[in-house]
Symmetry: D2
Subunit: 338 residues, 4 copies
Amino acid sequence: MKIAIAGASGYTGIELLRILSSYEDIEINQISSRRYSGKRLKDVFPFFSGRFSDLVFQEDIDIQSSDFFFLCLPHEPSVELVKRVYESGKKVVDLSAAYRIKDTKAYTEFYGFEHKYPELLFKAVYGLPELFRDDIKNASVVANPGCYPTASILGLYPAVKEGVIKGEIVINALSGISGAGREPKQQFHYPEAFGDSYPYKPLMHRHIPEMENVLKNVSGSDIKVRFTPHIIPVSRGMIATITFRTDLSKDQIVELYRLEYRYEPFIRFLTEPPHTKYVSGSNFCDIFVDKDERTGLAVVITAIDNLGKGASSQAIQNFNIMTGREETYNLLTGIVYP
Amino acid sequence: MKIAIAGASGYTGIELLRILSSYEDIEINQISSRRYSGKRLKDVFPFFSGRFSDLVFQEDIDIQSSDFFFLCLPHEPSVELVKRVYESGKKVVDLSAAYRIKDTKAYTEFYGFEHKYPELLFKAVYGLPELFRDDIKNASVVANPGCYPTASILGLYPAVKEGVIKGEIVINALSGISGAGREPKQQFHYPEAFGDSYPYKPLMHRHIPEMENVLKNVSGSDIKVRFTPHIIPVSRGMIATITFRTDLSKDQIVELYRLEYRYEPFIRFLTEPPHTKYVSGSNFCDIFVDKDERTGLAVVITAIDNLGKGASSQAIQNFNIMTGREETYNLLTGIVYP
Amino acid sequence: MKIAIAGASGYTGIELLRILSSYEDIEINQISSRRYSGKRLKDVFPFFSGRFSDLVFQEDIDIQSSDFFFLCLPHEPSVELVKRVYESGKKVVDLSAAYRIKDTKAYTEFYGFEHKYPELLFKAVYGLPELFRDDIKNASVVANPGCYPTASILGLYPAVKEGVIKGEIVINALSGISGAGREPKQQFHYPEAFGDSYPYKPLMHRHIPEMENVLKNVSGSDIKVRFTPHIIPVSRGMIATITFRTDLSKDQIVELYRLEYRYEPFIRFLTEPPHTKYVSGSNFCDIFVDKDERTGLAVVITAIDNLGKGASSQAIQNFNIMTGREETYNLLTGIVYP
Amino acid sequence: MKIAIAGASGYTGIELLRILSSYEDIEINQISSRRYSGKRLKDVFPFFSGRFSDLVFQEDIDIQSSDFFFLCLPHEPSVELVKRVYESGKKVVDLSAAYRIKDTKAYTEFYGFEHKYPELLFKAVYGLPELFRDDIKNASVVANPGCYPTASILGLYPAVKEGVIKGEIVINALSGISGAGREPKQQFHYPEAFGDSYPYKPLMHRHIPEMENVLKNVSGSDIKVRFTPHIIPVSRGMIATITFRTDLSKDQIVELYRLEYRYEPFIRFLTEPPHTKYVSGSNFCDIFVDKDERTGLAVVITAIDNLGKGASSQAIQNFNIMTGREETYNLLTGIVYP
């Protein structure tokens, strides 16, 4: 099987390459990067020393030459390239937001472009295996979830599905800076981000429609979330601290979550709140569930690696499912600690 | 004026010494530390080079020898020492929680000891000048607020006072590790805390009764907060992201806050969410107020330095008020950036 | 093959467990830790989710029950336990300094204890495969090198072996804090180590006799190094910047190094100075060689992970050699970046 | 006195503004920044709340309107602007390298431009008060030293002046990333610099001619240094670890340094190696001197804040001297710790 990675020089592309380098039965035969076109992978990233380190970045991906595609592109180019892969009859996991939301208005409002292929939006499967595993198996186009939606939806799904939430949902999330991509920016220049932490876009974050859209699809009812993301000064790591009112007791809510996820290989229940570092470099989502009886509010806390379960290793999980592999194949290695 | 600092070798003690070293008209004549008794300040902390660097740590503080006392002790020893200072007729700012809560049961339940001087609890003034400035002026005993309560109460006070909050209050807070004190612990050993972030004690944090007690005192009604603190891997810095339902419009809620705090020298309103680094080493509390009309929830975000406005510089602010100085004296210096 | 790890709850023990969890044909049947005796691995380290996570820490290791031993103990207990494993006819990799130096006086002077088994010192092989691969193959006792000696000796070996160094050798090294172990200490308490960097023990560092002893053994002549270690505020990572006078030209010195290490699977030559992060979590040693013609001094810079090639993955490399496996088995996985 | 700061939006400019905001008897009446022209200081840097926060960035500085000038510009524009200030008869501290070296060839070779005003080079005084205090007093143009040269020259001056160094000088230096300026760059993008450390430009660093030129001027003989700078992942801080052969005993070399610097208000001798954090935000240079009798090499270690004594607070020290103030005026405040 020949694999292509478009936009391979960003953080999600590098992470895909790292994980795929342990697969014996595949060949990565194309990597693309506008910025590094013509350069070898190992000359751009000297730490690369696996099987693919002699690969040369191409300007673009040729659809004829590969069998499976990972797209790590900006949203708009992804709209087009996914369409072209789809028409070729091949399979693609798209790590952008281009096909995540079944509502074209969201693209106009939150992403600033008009989505040209609304019919393909409805053929694309949202690549969160814990919710849509069966659809992913047969999908040609998998829209890999965003990191904030992954952490938030996994923390809400059992409660939303069972309809046990009363009133509003408040999500406060923390994210490492790699989630903002590899492009240097003033606010992420090391001396400024060093030792700093702050909320950003507290009122209208792009990830809200993705979350609400998926939660509505699995519950059949409108769900509204109040979502405030915060930057924390680490490279990788994401926490979502979720609060909602419920009539379930503490034991009932804990049991609900454990039951729903009892066969999930990448969800771990902890008896203490989760740490970003415990999932760093992994595909795990650690979950803590509790209820504050004083206020009647349940507290669900999830932790993922924004580049792992929040992006690239989840893309590999989808790849494993789409290609008939064991879902956990190559994804259960331990984390580097400390 | 002769000043004593008990427990001067902890982080709040060092910060007091730093700020007080710029006062021309005082003498610090006693510093105590069990651990460093007999050693000079500058031998323990080689970076100290101000007027007080030749001071020698004593085992204990002698009440006769000084005129004003700052206590940076654990809660229980503080209960006793505050009492003794009070009986001598002198003034004290206590940075522990020993006299913060007007409810002895809270001490039994949350702090694990029985408070022996309930009558003195009611004479102690809660040292948040933005709420209790007039009481502080004439107080003998000022209970300096905790860092989480400072960030949370300043973010809630205008709304609570006006009674515009409907339903529960959700507070998610981030804190730098210096807030946990100077004692080495496994979870704060550098290799483990490096690059990590996590919530802790999400269900029952000691600071909740302090917050609820003060908010009840200023509003006359029971207030319940859902409070989840998170560790972030920095030395200093604290964010409180507060969410509550209100019928006020965005403009009304913003106006309410600006009006309430319009004369406050240490409260700055920002049009973007605040950064921990913008207040680091300062006595400022930066505030951002907004409303999410989609969900009907107001969002108030505050940022302080947990050792500054959350502890030592707020203690100095109280000291300035208690000794008839300009309240802002020596507290408006710029921050070291980046 | 049944494997025991003594002192498994320290950083080198955890790293061994992580790497060994990918071996299909071994069983770890004993892990010991005084501190956590009786507790399960995954209850102490919640991020552990591999095959060994249900293992229970024992107070001590039983020599009869296992076939191969990794010792991550303090120096003195290791002196004894290595002796006992040796007498049982089994094999051991000792990660302490207990058997690294062929000179009992060094133990008295630098480590503060008298070495009881000088004859066993001479049977132990210094576990730096790039220098002593053939001896390691047949060794029963392998003394795994320290992190500073690994980075320094690999950076000096080709030049020392060929005798091209004139005069003194100056080594300035940087180390992440995990190299100091898992025990919490004041200077490594997060708020204090955060944002700080400093040299330590500049005059007499324990690792000097280890370096000089090995370099003398391979060159036959006395070698003196001036070694200054520095703490940098990261968890993992080590740089050794080495300077010495030589008559070789730049091209000659580069060629000398490349030739010597041309078949080494874990040594990578870079054309730019190495980064600690490029080798983090790996067994690689990245090397940069150059000469400053203005001063006549060669500059050799090496980078390793102090817990990887500087400790645990090097121990696994030795294990692979001692047990007849491919030397690189399981040690060529890519690094997690960024 | 009216003061202008050209290039005030960089890190050295911000630091100058912070320190100068405590001066009662000056007015900053011009700040320039190409990037932020037309914007208010406090709108660009929301943490600014001192006297100057309403200042508006200008495109350029007008020489007629101010009495004293600080230039925080790139080297080439500084060449011109210094010249123009000089011709107006006013005083200037130039923080660029434009007038540091008395050798025009160095500019062609290391800085890539031809210096147009060689005669003015010889009128400019090198602004290291510990060496050139008397010249600075009467200078019109002071070339403020670079951070690496400050740390290195202060660590070498007593030994160089007395001629006690035999053979080559090896300097290994560590620098926080703020030393590279405020412009975002790929290698200083937070996720990449986070947790990383590495040497850079080990063979030919721009600061070498500056160091050698000054050392030659004070000693009369050619001095060659082998200088290797390293990036450490902090915002501020610089260490220079200096090694050289000498016949002086340990006591003699220590005494030589203490004697030379005995009246220096900003030089502190430590009995343990210095920490970057002990001088952060200050104008101090901490020094540690020792000798390794085994190798015959002296070890001198200095620590400064690269933006403090390595740039802006040293510029203020020069300003104090040039304007007849107490040299230490406003520069002895304590550091924010931890």
